[in-house]
């Protein structure tokens, strides 16, 4: 057979062979058969020397064309079969999408921390900065500078743990008010969160250690209505817009006028239930206008500056918010509890 015919025949054969192939293995076999080092196309190249010299360029060219076409064809089929194979493979790889996921393990922040962060964010938004102070305080900062002189009955309001004649464990975060006023000039807008101590037995509703958040604003022309505005914003953010707020007269030595702030009960909406002792209200914080004696002791002229302060127990807020009935749970660090927040 003449080489030219052979070429023609081979071309046809290749086209048919590739068209009929159904898996990659077979395709590879065909590639080796036709396009391999010892394949049929190579074979033709090897035989070119045997034809008449004038025919050689033409046959050479045609063989080249055949090789290219075959290679293209092979590529095309290969792609097609690969695609097909992937499809089949994926078909076999079907999984049960309802099996549980592999969970990245993240730690849980303590609910007191979470609550605190939330409260901080609210007040940062209202222009407050965060202030801190020592937990071991002096008589002066914890009492005297807050208008609680020695031998005043107001000292009975807090059972104090003492270290020695001069030092005690702060009974409230209010000393931070005084420390801040001593070190800064107005306007002052601070939030002082921290740990406080009382001589209380640990039971369901008391702990010798708990946490408070104190706020202080001092500037010219600060009024009681501004205090109400700040507390309104806070209550809306933390307890929800729909809460009613009630202010009633109370007593703190370092504020005058003083108020206790109640919000409508989060459980019964004011109807009365066991959480609110059937009053419909929950006491959430104490507040008031900074007492002129306190301003004066910190070196501020009460004729020029006025301010308000507020303070709340943040353990209590967390307990209300999360429906915790026993404060001890907060300090037991039971992981089953921690992992609920």
């Amino acid at each position: 057979m003449k080489l030219k015919e052979k070429l023609k025949k081979l071309k046809k054969e290749i086209q048919q062979a590739f068209a009929g192939v159904e898996d990659l293995e077979e395709l590879e076999k065909l590639r080796v058969k036709y396009l391999g080092q010892k394949g049929e196309v190579q074979e033709i190249f090897g035989q070119i020397g045997e034809v008449e010299p004038e025919m050689r360029p033409e046959i050479g060219k045609k063989t080249n064309e055949l090789q290219e076409q075959a290679a293209k064809l092979h590529q095309k089929e290969k792609k097609r079969l690969e695609k097909k194979e992937k499809k089949q493979k994926m078909k076999k790889e079907k999984i049960d999408v309802t099996l549980p996921g592999t969970k990245p393990e993240m730690g849980y922040a303590h609910p007191l921390t979470r609550g605190m962060e939330e409260i901080k964010e609210v007040f940062l938004g209202l222009g407050f900065s965060i202030a801190e102070g020592p937990e071991i305080e002096t008589e002066y900062y914890n009492f005297e500078a807050l208008n609680i002189p020695e031998n005043h009955p107001a000292r009975d309001l807090q059972d104090t743990l003492y270290i020695d004649d001069k030092h005690l464990l702060r009974t409230h975060t209010s000393p931070v008010q005084v420390r801040t006023m001593e070190n800064q000039r107005p306007p002052i807008r601070i939030l002082a969160p921290g740990r406080v101590y009382r001589s209380d037995e640990l039971d369901a509703s008391h702990s010798p250690v708990f946490h408070q958040i104190e706020g202080l604003v001092v500037a010219e022309d600060i009024s009681f209505s501004d205090l109400k505005g700040t507390i309104r914003s806070f209550v809306s953010e933390i307890y929800g817009e729909e809460r009613d707020i009630r202010f009633r007269p109370s007593y703190f030595p370092f504020t005058e006028p003083s108020a206790e702030v109640d919000v409508s009960c989060i459980v019964c909406e004011g109807e009365g239930c066991s959480l609110c002792s059937r009053s419909g209200w929950l006491e959430v914080m104490g507040a008031g206008m900074v007492h002129p004696n306190v301003l004066e002791m910190s070196g501020y002229n009460p004729e020029v500056f006025s301010g308000f302060a507020f303070g709340m127990g943040w353990d209590r807020i967390a307990m209300l918010k999360y429906g915790i009935h026993d404060i001890r749970v907060l300090f037991e660090n039971d992981r089953r509890f921690l992992h609920q927040f």
Binding site: E105, G107, H110, T113, L124, G125, L126, G127, F128, S129, I130, P134, E135, I136, N151, P153, D156, L157, Y162, I163, D164, D165, P187, R189, R195, Y197, D200, L202, P208, V209, V217, A219, D221, I222, S223, F224, S225, D226, K228, G229, T230, R232, R246, R248, P249, S250, E256, P257, A259, M289, P292, P302, S306, F331, E332, N333, D334, R335, R336, L338
Partner: protein, 800 residues
């Protein structure tokens, strides 16, 4: 303070139901904590008269009674020993329920019908312990009448939290005055007092001498003769009981009654025991002794004020009477004291002696000095009426420091500015007048306000501002937003602390919070020796109990306890951290040191990366390394060390830039048992102050990314077992120079293929240049240099 509703109502008319009254009082600043109905569960109990008692035909210990209940007579079987004809008794009729929940029904007791139950005190919930028999009522108990009406239990009692500035409301008249200020109608009805006095004979001397007017600005004494000590009238006993005061006898009850009306403590002396009828109010002598009413001998100091006669002290002024001059059943003549004492002095004495009394409680909060005589008159009248007392002579009234009031200037503009209101000066005047303040004059919007004598809480302008606010209504004051010209900011330290928190949480540790007061016991349990600095505790001088007697010096004990508690709850793979302050004593009178710490604990967690069963140790170490790296701090160094509570071969101190900042280690084996941990556990504690000092929150420098590929070489060494990996790592790093980008230790092996005293360490070394692809020759050169150095320096062998 316990305030009975109906008693309060005798001083002022109001239409308010108990709930409404509670609300009104609360909004006045007199917080009603709860309302108790004394007759709870007793509304159906009636009073009955036993008209006939006969024996039960079948039971010796039972009687069959006919009980007159007014409109009917019921047959009731009763087994009480004191049942008898003519007795008036409380009866629970058939169909009623007793306070304890017991249902009373018509029953047949051994064949005899019983329609109800005659009750004892305990069955009615009036006493805890079991009574001997049925309750016997007085002649006032009408058949068929309401038992709670008879017994004074048809009463609502308000528990009011009286804050120190409301001392005036420790008397019912004070509360009535507060109500008067807010109620539309209703005037305070002060008791009408009429006294009939006779001349005091010269045989009955009565003299008062005040030696220290600062401590006793007013003292009154009255002589009441021929009193008959006996029970006080029924109505008074009921009122006292409902206010939580136990009736004793007419004289004591009357002084208590007036105390609750006027908030004026009174004291009745046995006049005949006072030498020459002379009262001397003086400071005690140093070490003077006095036996008080509670039969305790008190040793006094010159800071204490006493009531004395010429022979010696007879009472601790304003705190407690003396035993020697006490009114007894034999007393016939009384000296009635009504006085005012210095608040601070009373408080000091009462505190120093640990002696609290109703009188001291009120005196240290202040009484109405102008009403001292009025209270005396009231008590005298009641004693005249209910104790047959004869009043001899006028009141002896020593009043060396009369009440004076300069008046307080109240600027209407200031009121409005402080409250955010716009009240006229006349509106403010009107409000204050309702509270008995007098407005002496008004000069260009400044009110000169005279304060009534019972308002010792009002001392300056701010106090008046509060009164205006209180009467105007806190809830009527508008809500405004005080505009902030500042931006709310966290300090850098606060931001760093939050970053630490986020990183610890992100690495999968749970945050715990412990109480920073603790007991010493757990330090013993942790084997912390007596001379350890962990025992430089800050001690609480007045601890409530041993378990909260010191401040923690380390977070470790609580961490171990937390691991233990969670193990008990079958929790596995525990990882915790705590951020908190620890406290160190620095010697007497010095402020103790407070330091923030970060503590971690892990149990039963982590991969056994190095095949040495120390997964928790390396997990926590990894946590610290990641923490430091993510805070862009240098890697801390870990150097072998020991701690009393740590495994001797698995503990390290942690250094940062050469300074020791904490430690890490596995708990020693004994503690695993001691704390029921069941598994190995590791802990660390470091100073958290280091983060604040070292973290540079604003450094954003980064290294440019390499453009040329790294070349990797593995190096396996056999080294002596005790040689620390970090030593080799450091050396490789040093010798490798600039072109050695990274060294990773990826395998540690001990076992059959190498000698027993050796271990094999496998490192991956990555070489890379910034400006070119490194050739094999270059890399080999450095690699060989490293190998040569290590061979020379240590007894190492390179494994091929």
């Amino acid at each position: 303070m316990d305030v009975p509703y109906s008693w309060l109502k005798t001083y002022i008319d109001f239409e308010l139901e108990p709930e409404e009254l509670a609300h009104t009082l609360t909004m006045l600043g007199l917080e009603v904590e709860n309302i108790e109905f004394l007759g709870t569960g007793l509304k159906k109990i009636v009073t009955g008269l036993i008209t006939e008692v006969s024996d039960h035909p079948e039971a010796d210990n039972l009687k069959v009674c006919q009980v007159d209940l007014g409109d009917k007579t019921e047959q009731i079987v009763c087994g009480a020993p004191n049942v008898r004809e003519g007795l008036r008794v409380p009866v629970a009729p058939a169909g009623s329920i007793l306070p304890e929940g017991q249902e009373v029904q018509e029953v047949k007791l051994r064949g005899v019908t019983s329609r109800g139950m005659i009750c004892s005190r305990d069955e009615l919930g009036l006493q805890e312990e079991r009574a001997d028999g049925i309750m016997e009522l007085g002649s006032g108990a009408e058949p068929g009448g309401s038992f709670i009406d008879y017994a004074g239990l048809n009463e609502y009692v308000f528990k009011i939290d009286i804050t120190p500035n409301y001392a005036r409301c420790l008397g019912l008249l004070g509360i009535a005055r507060e109500l008067q200020a807010v109620l539309e109608e209703g005037q305070v009805k002060y008791p009408e007092i009429e006294l009939t006095a006779q001349e005091r004979s010269s045989y009955d001397p009565l003299k008062v001498k005040i030696e220290d007017p600062e401590l006793c600005p007013r003292y009154t004494a009255r002589l009441l003769k021929n009193v008959e000590i006996g029970p006080s009238p029924d109505w008074m006993q009921k009122r006292l009981r409902s206010a939580g005061v136990r009736p004793i006898n007419n004289i004591v009850d009357i002084t208590n009654y007036v105390l609750l009306e006027y908030n004026q403590p009174l004291h009745a002396f046995d006049y005949d025991k006072i030498s020459s009828g002379e009262i001397i109010v003086r400071r005690a002598e140093e070490r003077e002794k006095l036996i008080t009413l509670d039969d305790e001998t008190r040793e006094l100091t010159t800071d204490d004020l006493v009531i004395a006669d010429p022979e010696g002290s007879i009472a601790l002024a304003g705190v407690m009477g003396g035993a020697d001059s006490e009114v007894t059943a034999d007393t016939t003549n009384i000296l009635l004291e009504s006085a005012a004492f210095d608040q601070v002095s009373i408080r000091r004495t009462s505190r120093r002696l640990g002696l609290s009394s109703e009188a001291a409680y009120r005196f240290e909060r202040g009484v109405d000095i102008e009403a001292v005589d009025e209270a005396s008159r009231r008590a005298s009248q009641l004693m005249q009426e209910y104790a047959g007392a004869e009043i001899h002579g006028e009141l002896v009234d020593e009043y060396p420091l009369p009440y004076e009031q300069d008046g307080i200037d109240l600027d209407a503009g200031r009121v409005n500015q402080l409250l955010g209101l716009d009240l006229s000066e006349s509106r403010i005047s009107g409000i204050l007048k309702k509270l008995d303040f007098e407005i002496e004059e008004v000069v260009s919007d400044v009110l000169k306000v005279k304060v009534p004598s019972y308002r010792n809480d009002v001392q300056q302008e701010a106090d008046l501002v509060e009164e205006v606010a209180r009467m105007y209504g806190y809830n009527n004051i508008p809500v405004t937003a005080s505009p902030s010209r500042q931006q709310g900011k966290k300090t850098e330290a606060q931001k760093i602390r939050e970053q630490v928190l986020d990183l610890m949480l992100g690495m999968g540790l749970d945050e715990i919070i412990n109480i920073s007061l603790m007991g010493k016991e757990i330090y013993d349990k942790l084997d912390i020796p007596a001379d350890s600095e962990y025992r430089d505790w800050v001690q609480i001088s007045n601890p409530l109990n041993e378990s909260f007697s010191i401040m923690r010096t380390t977070l470790i004990p609580n961490m171990v306890q937390t691991l233990s508690d969670n193990t008990r709850h079958q929790q596995k793979e525990l990882r915790f951290f705590e951020r908190g302050r620890v406290f160190r004593d620095r010697g007497p009178e010095k402020r103790p040191r407070e330091e923030r710490r970060l503590c971690g604990g892990s149990m039963d967690y982590g991969r056994d990366l190095w095949g040495n069963d120390a997964a928790d140790f390396y997990y926590l170490k990894g946590v610290l390394e990641t923490l430091f790296s993510r805070l862009k701090l240098k890697t801390p160094e870990f150097k072998e060390s020991s701690r009393p509570f740590l495994h001797p071969g698995r503990a390290a101190d942690i250094y940062y830039k050469g300074t020791k900042i904490g430690f890490i280690g596995e708990l020693k084996a004994e503690l695993i048992d001691e704390f029921d941990l069941r598994e190995r556990a590791a802990v660390f504690e470091i100073s958290a102050e280091i983060f604040i000092e070292e973290v540079q929150p604003h450094s954003f420098e980064f290294d440019t990314l390499p453009k040329f590929p790294p070349v990797s070489r593995d190096l396996a060494l056999v080294v002596p077992r005790e040689l620390s990996a970090s030593v080799i790592l450091d050396d490789i790093d040093n010798i490798g120079g600039e072109l050695l980008r990274q060294v990773n230790l990826f395998d540690v092996y001990t076992g059959e293929q190498i000698a027993r005293e050796d271990k094999s360490l496998a490192f991956e070394l990555l070489f890379q240049a910034e400006d070119r692809t490194l050739t094999d020759r270059e890399v080999n050169e450095i690699f060989n240099k490293i190998v040569d150095y290590l061979k020379k320096e240590y007894d190492v062998e390179v494994r091929k």
